[in-house]
C-alpha cells in the first residue's frame, strides 16, 4: 500500500465520518461544523487531483462563506435543536435501507460494469492553476460565467424580497 492510498483512505474515512456526523448530530451547530470539516477534506482531495485553485475556492467559498452564513442563521434564529415532533415511524428505516441499496447498486456499476478506468494523464504545468482556469472560463465558458452573475443577482433580489419588512402590511 502506497502512502498515497493511505492518505486517500484516511481522508475518505474522515469525509464519511463527518458526513455521518451531519446525519446524526442533534445540534445544528455541530452539524454545520462537521460539514465544514467535510468540505476541508474535499478541498484536500481537489489538491490531490490537481485542482489547486478550486481547492482554495472550496475553502474560501464553501467553508468560509456559505457555512458562515449557515452558522449565522442558526444563531440568529436560535434553532440549534428542535422540539419533539410526530415523525412517521417507517420513514427513517425505509430511507436508510434505500440508501444502502443505492450504494450497493452504485458500487456494482462502478466496479463491475463500467469500462476499465483510463490511465491518468500526465498533467501539464500549471494545470488547475488560476491562469488555466481563468483562460477556459472566460473563453469557452463565457456564457455560463455571465449567467452565474445574473443568478447571483436574482438570488440577492429573492433574499431581499423574502426577508425585508412588508411595506404592504401597513398600506393595505
Amino acid at each position: 500500500m502506497t502512502t498515497e492510498l493511505i492518505l486517500f483512505f484516511s481522508l475518505a474515512l474522515i469525509a464519511i465520518i463527518t458526513g455521518l456526523g451531519l446525519l446524526i448530530s442533534k445540534n445544528a451547530i455541530y452539524a454545520a461544523l462537521y460539514l465544514v470539516l467535510n468540505f476541508f477534506t474535499i478541498a484536500i482531495f481537489y489538491l490531490l487531483l490537481g485542482g489547486a485553485f478550486i481547492a482554495m475556492a472550496q475553502v474560501s467559498v464553501y467553508a468560509g462563506a456559505i457555512m458562515v452564513l449557515f452558522l449565522f442563521v442558526i444563531m440568529i434564529l436560535g434553532a440549534e435543536k428542535l422540539g419533539k415532533s410526530n415523525t412517521v415511524a417507517w420513514q427513517r428505516p425505509v430511507a436508510i435501507i434505500l440508501s444502502i441499496i443505492l450504494l450497493i447498486e452504485a458500487g456494482y456499476v462502478l466496479f463491475w460494469r463500467t469500462a476499465p478506468v483510463q490511465a491518468a494523464q500526465t498533467l501539464p504545468d500549471g494545470f488547475g492553476g488560476p491562469a488555466s482556469i481563468g483562460n477556459v472560463l472566460l473563453n469557452n465558458y463565457l456564457l455560463p460565467f455571465e449567467i452565474t452573475s445574473v443568478l447571483l443577482l436574482v438570488a440577492m433580489i429573492g433574499a431581499i424580497v423574502l426577508t425585508h419588512k412588508q411595506k404592504t402590511d401597513k398600506e393595505v
Binding site: V154, I157, T168
Partner: protein, 479 residues
Amino acid sequence: MTTTDLLSVFPLLILILWACLVLLLDVFLKRERLTTILTAIGLVVTLGFSISQNNLNLTGFNNMVVVDNFAVYLNIIFLGSGLLAISLAHDYLKRMGINRGEFYVLLMFSISGMMLMAIAADLIVFFLALELLSIPLYVLAAFARPRVESEEAGMKYFLLGAFSGGFVVYGIALVFGATATTNLSGIAARIAEHQADIPLLTIGAALILVGFSFKVAVVPFQMWTPDVYHGAPSAVTAFMAIGAKAAGFAALMRIFVAALPTLSEQITPIIWVLAALTMIVGNIVAVAQSNIKRMLAYSSIAHAGYILMALVSYGQSSVASVSVSAALFYLLSYAVTNFGAWAVVIAVEKAEGKGLALDDYAGIGRKYPALAAAMAIFMLSFTGVPPTLGFVGKFYLFRAVIDGGYIGLAVIGVLTSLISAFYYLRVVVIMYMRDGEPEVRSEPWLNLTTAFTAIATIVLSIFSAPILQWASQAILSTF
C-alpha cells in the same frame, strides 16, 4: 465573442437588461402601474426579437447555445405565457395585498431562465438555466408571505427543486465522466465513435431524467405539485404550470433527442412506464379533489403524462421529429387552455384562500353566463373534446405515439382522458346545475385574458394548420 454569439442570445440579453432596468426604476419611482406596463413592453419587445430569430439557425459560444426554430417556438410560448401571467397578476396582486414591483422583475428573470433552457446545447447551460428559472419561482411561490400556505409552498418547491438539482448535477458529472464532454453534439459524437462508457452514461442520463422529472411533475416525482400549486399565489401557479413545465420538457427533448438517441433501448421503457403512471395517477387522483387549484394541479400532472408520451419514441429518428412537434403543439394548446382556466380561478378567488372550493362555482352558469361558457370551453379542451385545441393536441400526440408503435400507451392515454372527462365535466355541471350566489371579480384585463384564451381555444383548433406547420418545422431544423 463574435457577432453570431451576440445575435444568438440577443433576445435573452435584452430581457435580462430590461429586468435590471425595471428593478431600478421600481425602486426609485415606486409606481407599480408603471412597472407593470414596462414589464409588458419589455416582454413584447423581446417577443419581437425572438420571432425575428425564426429560421436563423444560429449556434453561439462554442456550441453552448443553439437558436433553431425549436427554441424560437418555445421562447414565444414562454414570452406569451409571461404576458398572460402579467395580465392575470396585475389585478390579483392588488386584491391580495401583495402588489410589489419585484414580482415583475422576478418573472422576467424566470422567463430569461426558460429562454436559456430552450436554446441551451450544453449540459452546464441546462443546469444554470434550470436554476435561473427556478430560483425566482421559489421566491414567487412564497410571494404572498406572511401567509403560511404561500411560504410553505415556497419552501416545498425549494426543497424539491434543490434536491432534484442535486440529481441533475450528479447526472451531468457522470455523463461528463462517461464522455469527457458536456456538449450535446460532443456527447453524440463520442457515442458514435464508441468512446463512451455506456453504463455510466446510462446512469447519468437516468439521473438527469429523474431531476427533470421532478421539475415537470411526472409520477412518482409529482407529489409536491398539488401542495405547491395550492399554496402559491394563483397568478404564479398559472405561470409555473406552463413555464416550468414547458422548459423542463424542452430540456428533456433536447437532451434525449439530440444527444442520447442511442440509449433509447434502455430509456424508452422507463419513459413508457413514467408516462403511463403519470396519466393514470394524475387523472384518477384529480377526481377526488374538492379544491379547484389542487384539481388543476393534478390535471397538470396528467397533462405532463400526455406530453411525456411523445418522448417515448424519441429514439426512432423517423418518428422523433413528428413526436416532438406533437409535443410542442400540445404544450401550446395546454398553455392557452391552462391560462384561461386559471384566469377563471383568479376571477372567482377571494382573499385569504377563499373561493377555491369547487362548490364556490355553483350558480356561476346563471349569474355569469359568459364566464361559465369560457370555463366550460377550457374544461372541454382539457378533456380533449372537439372542436377545441385540447382535442387537436391530443389527436397529434396519439397519432405520434401510434406511429411509434406504442399502441398500448395510446390506449392508456385514451382511457385516462375518458376518466378525466369525469372531473372536468363536474366543474361544468356544478356551474350550470347547482344554485349558488357566487361573487366574481370583473376586471378588464382579467376578462380580456379569459375571452382571448377562450376564443383562441376554439378558433385555433379549427384553424390549427398554420401553428401545426410551424410546430413541425420547429423541430426539423434541430436535427
